[in-house]
């Protein structure tokens, strides 16, 4: 469901499917939480393959963020297409998640662009 790679001092979780919806949301959340629990506390989620995201999946994303924050970690997002980027702005998810157009350099008490 996600492909994990490392970049600088954080992890990139690349979503492998195009439609991020209710069918995937539980498993996705579980996989991200497993990564967090295994010590990978700073994760950049890559949406490069994703064309559409529904509210269930957004909910899973926020729940994962809350889990990360509770353990002193953070989750940011990257590679949003135009429609998803517009949705993030419309419902203020861009205030909840740090949104990157380019891969951030590193994480040092905050994401460094």
């Amino acid at each position: 469901m996600i492909e994990i790679t490392t970049h600088q001092n954080y992890y990139i979780a690349k979503i492998k499917f195009a439609e991020a919806n209710m069918e995937q949301s539980d498993l996705f959340k579980q996989e991200i939480i497993n990564e967090l629990d295994s010590g990978h506390t700073h994760i950049l989620i890559s949406f490069e393959n994703v064309n559409y995201i529904d509210s269930s999946f957004l909910g899973a994303l926020v729940t994962s963020l809350k889990h990360a924050m509770a353990m002193g970690g953070d989750i940011a997002v990257y590679g949003l297409n135009e429609n998803i980027s517009q949705l993030f702005e419309l419902i203020r998810m861009n205030k909840v998640f740090k949104v990157f157009k380019d891969l951030p350099g590193s994480y040092q008490a905050g994401w460094i662009a």
């Binding site: 492998k16 209710m22 529904d54 909910g59 949705l87 419309l90 419902i91 998810m93």
Partner: protein
């Protein structure tokens, strides 16, 4: 027409192509796999409405595939049909014992295979609708409603709403109107993130908190939607049951005496404001975050003074989801452009109902969706 998704599994590529072509002509979306391994990879990305699988395949055969499917809660209820040239009664019995719905002989003419699959899906759909209807009737009997039967009459305002379920499932959208005195009415539109029953169930928790918060604030003389939102959010953040559940909320107070509307929102879509005097459509985006994300939800209030003929439209996110040939997409601008031509008319509400909520629009719906329409009109004496 309801689009049906099928997963075809067969190591014979020719047969796969042949059946797939016939099914696509009948409106199916086909996923094809040459092996069980490939089929499982597809399943993790696309959950089909039905699986048609060959029995005899190298590495893992159809029975082994069925065994794997039965151990996975996500897949075990997908109707499974065996498709094989083995006319062996013992094998057929073994397949049916593994809760396969049916067995189709490969010598069956393709048209008949398609009809048989269609019949299976139709029967399941009818049974499913019957169950949904029964649950809906039970909820109705218990007076469990996340959407009211009607909107209140407010002298000097037109207030209407439209709501549509997603494939007959109730969803996370909730609507309510609370008239607190002869001058003030609160309008509530929220959407619990998620779909179907889970979201529907939690919509009652959110509605209960919202109703209580409004009443308690009103007792204290506090009529500010932003302040009420702040209180609701703090309660939701502390509620362990709602810990992982998030909701949007548009909260509006209509003040009849001043013809004003006070609006605050939590992760909701911008509301649409049509001003008749300038024939101008604008959007008003609130500042607040989704309920339940963090204790400081950054809620602020907008005040709009409405003149006769001015209109306000409040929507849930299901309104901006579109199913197109290339796939699903979320597009607020597209929604706005569809809405603009009917704004500012005498019959705006009826036009929205006709253009966006008619039966032939249901096919493109991908979530439950709601719309609230408010218009300032002449006051009756």
């Amino acid at each position: 027409m309801i689009v049906k998704k099928i997963l075809l599994v067969d190591d014979d590529r020719f047969i796969l192509q042949l059946i797939c072509r016939a099914l696509v002509l009948k409106g199916f979306i086909c996923f094809t796999a040459n092996s069980v391994k490939e089929a499982l990879e597809i399943l993790y990305e696309h959950v089909p409405d039905i699986i048609l699988s060959d029995y005899s395949m190298p590495e893992m055969n159809g029975f082994e595939f069925r065994k794997v499917i039965l151990t996975d809660n996500k897949f075990k209820n997908i109707p499974f049909v065996f498709f094989t040239s083995f006319a062996d009664e013992e094998l057929m019995q073994k397949g049916l014992d593994m809760q396969a719905i049916d067995y189709i002989d490969k010598n069956t003419p393709i048209a008949l295979v398609v009809s048989k699959l269609n019949n299976i899906l139709d029967t399941i759909r009818k049974q499913h609708e019957k169950s949904l209807f029964e649950i809906g009737a039970a909820a109705e009997a218990l007076n469990l409603r996340s959407v009211p039967l009607d909107s209140p009459a407010i002298n000097g305002f037109k207030l209407n709403f439209l709501y549509q379920t997603y494939e007959h499932y109730p969803g996370g959208d909730f609507i309510d109107f609370i008239t607190i005195d002869e001058n003030n009415t609160f309008v509530i539109l929220g959407d619990v993130m998620g779909k179907k029953w889970g979201a529907w169930f939690f919509s009652f928790n959110f509605l209960s908190y919202i109703r209580s918060a409004i009443r308690l604030c009103v007792f204290d003389g506090n009529l500010s939607p932003a302040s009420i939102l702040n209180k609701i959010n703090r309660i939701v953040c502390l509620d362990p049951v709602l810990g992982d559940v998030l909701s949007t909320l548009s909260l509006i107070r209509i003040d009849k005496t001043t013809s004003s509307v006070y609006y605050a929102g939590a992760g909701d879509l911008p509301i649409i404001f049509y001003q008749k005097s300038e024939r101008k459509t604008s959007t008003i985006q609130s500042n607040g975050l989704l309920l339940g994300i963090m204790e400081d939800g950054l809620y602020e209030e907008d005040v709009l003074k409405l003149a006769n003929g001015d209109q306000l439209i409040v929507v849930s996110d299901g309104m901006i989801d579109f199913e197109e040939y290339e796939g699903k997409k979320t597009d607020y601008i597209l929604f706005l452009n569809k809405l603009k031509p009917v704004l500012g008319r005498e019959d705006t509400y009826m036009q929205i109902k006709k253009k966006m909520f008619s039966d032939n629009k249901k096919r493109a719906v991908v979530d439950d969706r709601s719309l609230i329409f408010i218009q300032k009109v002449e006051e009756h004496c």
